[in-house]
């Protein structure tokens, strides 16, 4: 089911109503069934795939907990990884790896035909497999005890607000909240509805209206794009994907909040980051935290954490510098490929690895600068570098990526414009709007919140605009971008 639809709002209303009406056990059963219905509304045939991952990790986690021998625990963990990664590899990477291998064979003179298979990517597979992996690994590490109640455990994995595009949550963050029946509070509804409205606004008013401009720009032959156009499209897609994905997170958080369940934040003004490290603490925080705890820190030889907050962190670790460098690039290559089976995503991941690596090298050179200069300078460098990184993320293939990057290096390509004027106006306007929104949130909102009447008046105006626009624009004309991952 897609969030930006009337169907979802009706579904959510029914589920929330039942949630508060039913007793604990029936409530959990209802949530589980509701989540399966939510998923089946997309494609019912992929329900068994998801349930395979759910059931495997339920059984394996219990076995790991009950097994005394470390060797057997490890074997069980490998079974879980094999099933989850096997599903991911089959549905997401098989064609990519096979056809690249065949391409290489052909290049070496060994004739082989390309693999032709009609494999459809099950919705949310990258998210729920990462979630079940984290559950089993946490049990293996002894961070948590396995959940014996199958329904409760299944609700954690399949809980519909976060099922298809995250946030990727840890068992310790969700299961205790699901197992205890919270006392109903009006503020749950108020805060939940606010988050849902913010999310719908970002998706249906902003992201969906930017999309046609981005599509038109990226659809242009390269020779019709100037260097300024490439920059503009990089920024505009950066805004589109931010609005689109953070919208999903807002709606997920809001939907859960309606049931009294709190999810950690997944975004925090990422385009105001002052360094790559800062960016990955603000963008898709639950994924970067997952990568941190289940990939990067173990590879770098450092103690892992058991929370989906904090994002990517650097690590002194116990390993050599070369090892840590290898860990950095491996982590980011996997991070890139997690988004999609394509060389462009791999390049996107490695681009970020290079940026982080360079940041580590040059940071000490600026340590004598004032705090303000470092913050401003850091933002002025980080923003364009992050935005340029969206080029491989959005471009159709590697030749487009190379073509667009080469444009920005050629001075004569800065002398003309190839897009409609509105495209530049919109990109500039959104950047300005993000900065103003941040300043309002940082300086004006706290001052207002001390005066309840002013605060209510101001928010009433804000919500009348948001509700009006969401009402007018609410229609599922586009899926969320992260559905394809």
């Amino acid at each position: 089911m897609i969030f930006n639809s009337v169907t979802y709002l009706i579904f959510l209303m029914v589920v929330v109503l039942l949630y508060w009406m039913l007793e604990q056990r029936s409530r959990l059963v209802m949530l589980f069934i509701g989540s399966l219905i939510f998923y089946a509304f997309w494609r019912i045939e992929f329900l068994p795939v998801m349930l395979l991952s759910v059931i495997t990790d339920y059984i394996v986690a219990l076995r790991i907990y009950n097994t005394k021998e470390h060797k057997n625990k490890k074997l069980l963990l490998l079974i879980s990884l094999a099933v989850n990664l096997g599903l991911l590899i089959y549905f997401k990477y098989l064609l990519f790896f096979a056809n690249n291998a065949i391409g290489l064979m052909n290049f070496m003179g060994i004739t082989a035909d390309p693999l032709v298979l009609n494999i459809i990517l099950p919705l949310g597979i990258s998210f729920y497999t990462f979630q079940t992996i984290s559950y089993t690994v946490d049990v293996y590490r002894g961070f948590i005890k396995p959940e014996r109640d199958f329904i409760l455990y299944s609700c954690y994995v399949t809980f519909f607000p976060q099922l298809v595009a995250g946030p990727i949550l840890r068992a310790v963050e969700v299961i205790p909240q699901l197992s205890r029946r919270p006392k109903f509070e009006v503020s749950f509804l108020g805060i939940g509805l606010r988050r849902i409205l913010y999310g719908l606004f970002l998706k249906v008013v902003l992201a969906d209206n930017i999309a046609p401009m981005v599509d038109a720009g990226y659809g242009q032959p390269l020779e019709h794009l100037s260097a300024i156009d490439v920059w503009t499209l990089a920024f505009l897609f950066g805004f589109q994907i931010y609005f689109d994905f953070s919208a999903y997170s807002h709606i997920a958080l809001g939907s859960a909040r309606l049931m009294g369940i709190s999810f950690p934040e997944n975004f925090n003004f990422p385009y105001l980051s002052v360094s790559p490290r800062d960016f990955w603490k603000r963008w898709h925080i639950s994924l970067s935290s997952w990568i941190r705890d289940y990939l990067y820190l173990p590879l770098a030889g450092r103690q892992v954490q058991d929370r989906s907050t904090g994002g990517i962190e650097t690590s002194p670790g116990t390993q050599s510098n070369q090892w840590k460098l290898g860990a950095l690039y491996t982590t980011w290559a996997i991070m890139g490929l997690w988004h999609g089976a394509s060389w462009t995503f791999l390049i996107w991941g490695l681009y970020h690895a290079c940026f982080i690596f360079l940041y580590r090298i040059v940071t000490p050179l600026f340590k004598n600068l004032s705090e303000n200069t470092r913050v401003l300078g850091g933002w002025a460098v980080t923003l364009p570098v992050i935005m340029l990184g969206w080029i491989p993320f959005r471009a159709q293939n590697m030749s487009v990526v190379m073509g667009m990057f080469s444009k920005i290096l050629q001075p004569h390509e800065y002398l003309w414009l190839g897009l409609r004027e509105n495209t530049y106006v919109l990109a500039a306007f959104i950047l300005l709007a993000i900065i103003i929104t941040y300043l309002i949130k940082r300086f004006i909102v706290p001052a207002y919140s001390r005066q309840p009447l002013l605060s209510i008046a101001g928010e009433s105006i804000l919500f009348s605009i948001i509700i009006g626009l969401v009402f007018v624009f609410l229609r599922p004309i586009n899926q969320f971008i992260y559905f394809q991952f």
């Binding site: 639809s5 494609r43 897009l419 509700i467 599922p476």
Partner: protein, 383 residues
Amino acid sequence: MNNTEVKINSGQVIIPLIVGLISAILVMYIFFSGEKTNFENLALGDGTASYYATSESHKIHCTDIEDAHLCLEGHFKRNLSDAVLWLGNSQIHGINKFRPDQESAPLSLFKMLQKKGIDLVTFSQPNASIQEHYVLFEYLKSRIHFNVFILPVVFDDMRENGIRSSLSKALHDPETAESLKKTDIGMRILKENNNVNQNDSSPDIAGVKDTIQESFEQTVNKWLKDNFSLWEIRPEIRGKFYVFLYKLRNLILGIDPTSKRHIIRGTYDANMMALRAMLDSARAANIDVIMYIAPLRNDIEIPYVPEQYELFKDEVERLALKKNTAFVNLEDLVPGHLWGTKESTKLGGKPEYDFMHFQHEGHRLLSNALYETLRKEYILSKR
């Protein structure tokens, strides 16, 4: 997050939502539930009216394939052996300072040609791109027999891209698609619009296409439309919102009809490719073509970069020569006093110059000029 929430008073959280909801509904009811807006007329401006001519209760001037059958009916009923097809933009259906006793250029030309036993069918859409003309040309070519094709080449239209949804349905017509497949630009048009399904009743739910949700969403939307007038007028409100943003942009950036419009290289090239493809297709079907540079207001500075506009005219003329096509430059045909003004394109602004639509007298001059060209060059000279 939890800490902040604990401090929040429930009333403070919920009241703005309730007040916001009520005021949003009230505002929409008060400002948007009245008379339906004709966005085409809104785009034309207050001083200009759309005029799609009819003759003997049959339309002779249509918009696109959605009403094409109305024009084709009349064409088949008149059953004349020779016919002229005229495609264009709003210049040929928009009459500035319109009065009910006046008529548009297509109707005047139609009457003149009828006297010679020749039929005329006209199609025009606001801001039509050459690519759209190409699609419509191929669609009509397979349905009616015409000997001559009149095509205005407008600099503004070279900045337009894409195929509007009411025309993209033609891409699912096998004969049209087959013709388009013969050219690079035709292939590109087909590829870029391949997700538009002819049977899609609503592009509004494209995001849930082929899912179980699709039919549910359709049913719910229909029910909401049938039972809540506000739900039904959502497209209208969206349209007005876009117009508001457009006017706000113009106000903030100081844009008006006299502001210079630059060439958008990619779009320009795509339209030129479509123009070449259309000329080749006409020639292959033994259809004579008359291309004309559309009349342009010449009593004030033109809203184009002069060098770019000159290059454009030159390129069209050279193309006409290369393809052995008749070409007339009518840019100075309509004197300045026959043009007018239109409602401001800025929020709260004064009326502005209209560079696209002229008065009835201008329409008469245009139909006469085209009749003269037809007389000199084509089928009329054979009679």
